[in-house]
């Protein structure tokens, strides 16, 4: 009987000590937790979008003519866990030219016509209106050559040659926006493997 009672008292002592240690552990986590460098497990990525003139994902410019102003909105949202320095490069490509390569993270070959720069805080977004207008275009024998593009008020020299597409019946060019991210370690911008674009059918 006495042995049983003694064991029970020992169990109580252990429970008591464990309770005290639990209180100490909880208070340690609560008070010192914010100062401990815990690993962040959330997925890190950037959002990139393009919206039509009504600030919705509809009514994108499609059939366009020279000297006809168009507008879209392009935006970026940062989920990288820290503030980021982005560059948004604008290119005009045709159906024959390759898209950015998602596997090798290589950008599209046509030259960058314009570049937006944005500093975006973690979980914050940046958006800009993009107004554009084809200023100089030439059609001849199944070929369309875009020679001039006005983008956000500035005229850009461009040479984009497209052939007549008999299936889709048009001369197609894609206004492509590529997202680049500044890498502090390498000290340069690197293609962030994100792009959006709208197809434009050049008409007379």
């Amino acid at each position: 009987m006495l042995k049983l009672v003694k064991m029970s008292l020992e169990t109580c002592r252990v429970l008591f000590i464990v309770s005290c240690l639990a209180i100490i552990l909880l208070s340690t986590l609560g008070l010192l937790g914010p100062f401990l460098p815990l690993p962040r497990s959330a997925e890190r990525f950037s959002e990139l979008w393009i919206l039509g003139p009504g600030h919705k994902a509809e009514d994108y410019p499609f059939n366009i003519r020279a000297s006809e102003p168009q507008q879209v909105y392009v935006g970026v949202r940062n989920h990288l866990g820290a503030s980021a320095y982005y560059a948004l490069r604008v290119r005009l490509r045709t159906q024959g030219e390759p898209l950015p390569n998602q596997t090798t993270t290589e950008p599209s070959p046509p030259p960058s016509l314009y570049e937006f720069r944005a500093f975006v805080a973690q979980n914050d977004e940046w958006e800009t209106p993009v107004s554009f207008e084809v200023t100089d275009v030439e059609f001849s024998a199944g070929v369309c050559v875009v020679k001039g593009l006005r983008l956000n008020g500035g005229t850009l020299p461009v040479r984009s040659v497209s052939s007549w597409d008999p299936d889709r019946r048009g001369f197609y060019h894609e206004l492509c926006f590529e997202l680049w991210l500044y890498n502090s370690t390498s000290g340069s911008f690197e293609y962030h493997n994100r792009f959006v674009g709208i197809w434009l059918n050049m008409t007379h």
């Binding site: 008292l9 109580c12 010192l32 100062f35 820290a82 503030s83 937006f116 720069r117």
Partner: protein, 162 residues
């Protein structure tokens, strides 16, 4: 011998040209503005890592980036003087952000140290209070337990006696 002298002369003559070429990027207002933006961004990142609120600094950095975009647009239109002015404005804005970010980082570091000290004091007080109160509570519990146990033994012994 004559060829060797000629090579030496050409090498010496090329030295000032090479130094001018190396110095060119820093003289270029666009390169200077780009470099100022990068330095400012790095300073802001350090402030962010220290726990500072960097939202105002990022807004100013975006203003500086817009100024650089304007400079490039003006340059494309052939308005060089205005472009240089806009690029210089970018450098000025970015330099200000760098200074502000350093100050933000220092302030955030000091605040973090202050908070850590306070948390350590609170933690020490909680640990001390838990140990002390635990010790007192255990003493009280042990006394209560033994008195109850002794009472039980006496009562049961009385009942068991023939």
């Amino acid at each position: 011998m004559r060829a060797g002298s000629l090579c030496l002369f050409l090498a010496l003559a090329a030295l000032p040209l090479a130094s001018v070429a190396a110095a060119r990027p820093s003289d270029d207002p666009f390169a200077r503005a780009e470099q100022a933006l990068v330095s400012a961004y790095n300073a802001v990142r350090q402030a962010e890592d220290a726990g500072a609120d960097i939202s105002p600094a990022l807004t100013e950095l975006n203003d500086a980036a817009s100024s650089l975009a304007l400079a490039q647009a003006l340059y494309r239109e052939g308005r060089s003087a205005e472009a240089v002015e806009a690029a210089d404005r970018t450098s000025t804005l970015a330099s200000k952000v760098t200074e502000d970010a350093s100050w933000l980082r220092e302030r955030a570091t000091a605040k973090a140290a202050e908070l850590l000290t306070l948390a350590l004091i609170e933690w020490a007080a909680i640990v001390s209070a838990t140990v002390l109160l635990g010790h007192l509570a255990w003493g009280w519990f042990a006394r209560w337990y033994h008195s109850r146990l002794l009472g039980m033994v006496v009562a049961e012994a009385g009942q068991d006696e023939p």
